[in-house]
């Protein structure tokens, strides 16, 4: 199936392009991280045997028994196989934020200030969620 040549400056095409690139990067990162983790090439913070025993527990009990961090505490463990995979997960959760931020100038260039404002607000909401700033969400 063929589609007409897209307008490269159209915010819809800009969003599609960035979404495509970042999704491929996140996919490749996740695939490599998972291979390093499952093959044991990169030592995990929580041993596989412990994960199998603890994954039946509620999250609070899992974290307590495994000694695993919550929030952004995992950043210092990113060199471990399991937390390298968590970094890949975070990358997926950041993609929409990046794409929304990228279309702000694309909307402004076309004089679509209302859509640019909506994109700014969306970025603010996603950023606040990532930084754990919403009351009650912690």
């Amino acid at each position: 199936m063929t589609h007409p040549q897209p307008d490269q400056s159209d915010p819809q095409e800009v969003y599609a392009r960035w979404l495509d690139v970042w999704t491929h990067i996140a996919f490749a990162f996740a695939a490599v991280a998972l291979a390093l983790y499952l093959t044991g090439a990169l030592a995990p913070f929580v041993a596989p045997q412990a994960v199998v025993e603890l994954w039946r527990l509620p999250v609070d009990q899992y974290l307590a028994r495994a000694g695993a961090p919550s929030g952004w505490g995992w950043l210092s463990l990113v060199g471990r196989g399991d937390y390298l995979n968590l970094a890949a997960i975070c990358l997926f959760a950041l993609i929409s934020l990046v794409c929304c931020a990228r279309v702000i100038p694309a909307f402004l260039r076309r004089g679509e200030r209302l859509h640019a404002a909506l994109a700014v607000l969306q970025v603010v909401v996603l950023l606040a969620a990532a930084l754990n700033l919403f009351p009650g969400a912690r």
């Binding site: 199936m1 599609a16 996740a30 998972l34 527990l57 929030g71 997926f92 969306q122 909401v125 919403f134």
Partner: protein, 283 residues
């Protein structure tokens, strides 16, 4: 390396590959199918299954997004106001949901999904799209054109109607989705198609992109709470992404009635499962 450590991630990958195809064609995130299946047949605690389900819905819709946008099946200008209303309210819904009993939530979820399936089944079977814009839809430029290749290359020009009500609906859907811990694609498609007048395929495609944004905000709640176990979430993400790309290629060439029937069957099955679980009949 422990043997179970290998088996379950591989089984998750195979399951989510199939779910990825079904999810895109049905216009849902996939979490609504993933969570009950994995919670029933895999050894993981529901906390981690819900976290992975949310990421699965997110990553599947991210993977399908570029193809849907370029084919005109997802409309970014339509996505922006609806996703913003939905993502703010989904965070409020998640906080509310944590304070309610799980059985009550499951029962309400099942009843809601079945009601939506019945509503969709009873509505007219043909294409349902609007060619007249309302004032807000005009101001937000909520309009588009797509070529339905499955209908012999018919060109459809559409505009939204009842736009303010549509945005309010997505705030409500976002709240319910956050409360139930799902992407809520089951409600997105009827709201876009029946209420706002977007053609069914545009509704299905746009629903996917909306889920990718709404679930991004909700995913951070799970990440920050430590409820994402990489050995569960990452194989699920990779499987659903591969499946979703196949689903996105199938969507433009599938006839609208097939997409419609798929949506209804998926909704009815997922709704029945949630209802039986909530009532304690099939825990």
């Amino acid at each position: 390396m422990n043997e179970s450590f290998w088996i379950w991630p591989l089984a998750l990958f195979a399951l989510t590959f199939v779910l990825g195809i079904v999810a895109v064609v049905a216009g849902i995130g996939g979490g609504v199918l993933f969570v009950p299946i994995v919670a029933s047949f895999f050894p993981f605690h529901l906390d981690f299954v819900r976290g992975a389900g949310l990421l699965l819905a997110l990553s599947g819709t991210l993977a399908a997004g570029p193809l849907l946008l370029r084919a005109g099946l997802a409309n970014l200008r339509l996505v922006m106001p609806l996703a913003l209303a939905g993502s703010v309210c989904s965070l409020a819904g998640a906080v509310t949901g944590l304070a309610l009993p799980t059985d009550l939530l499951q029962t309400a979820l099942g009843a809601t999904i079945i009601a939506v399936a019945v509503l969709l089944w009873m509505s007219s079977g043909g294409e349902n799209f609007s060619e007249e814009s309302d004032a807000l839809g005009e101001r937000l430029r909520l309009q588009g054109r797509f070529v339905d290749h499955a209908a012999g290359g018919v060109r459809i020009d559409w505009r939204t109607r009842r736009t303010a009500l549509g945005i309010a609906s997505f705030a409500g859907i976002g709240f319910l989705g956050g409360m139930f811990g799902l992407g809520a694609g089951f409600a997105n498609v009827p709201a876009l198609n029946l209420l706002m007048g977007a053609p069914l395929k545009v509704a299905v495609g746009t629903s996917g992109l909306i889920i990718s944004i709404i679930n991004s905000s909700a995913a951070w709640v799970y990440i920050n709470r430590g409820a994402l176990l990489p050995v569960i979430a990452v194989p699920a993400i990779l499987g659903v992404m591969l499946g979703s790309r196949i689903g996105a290629r199938l969507l433009p060439v599938l006839p609208a009635p097939v997409v419609r029937r798929t949506v209804i069957v998926v909704l009815a099955l997922a709704g029945a499962r949630a209802l039986l679980r909530g009532l304690g009949i099939w825990p």
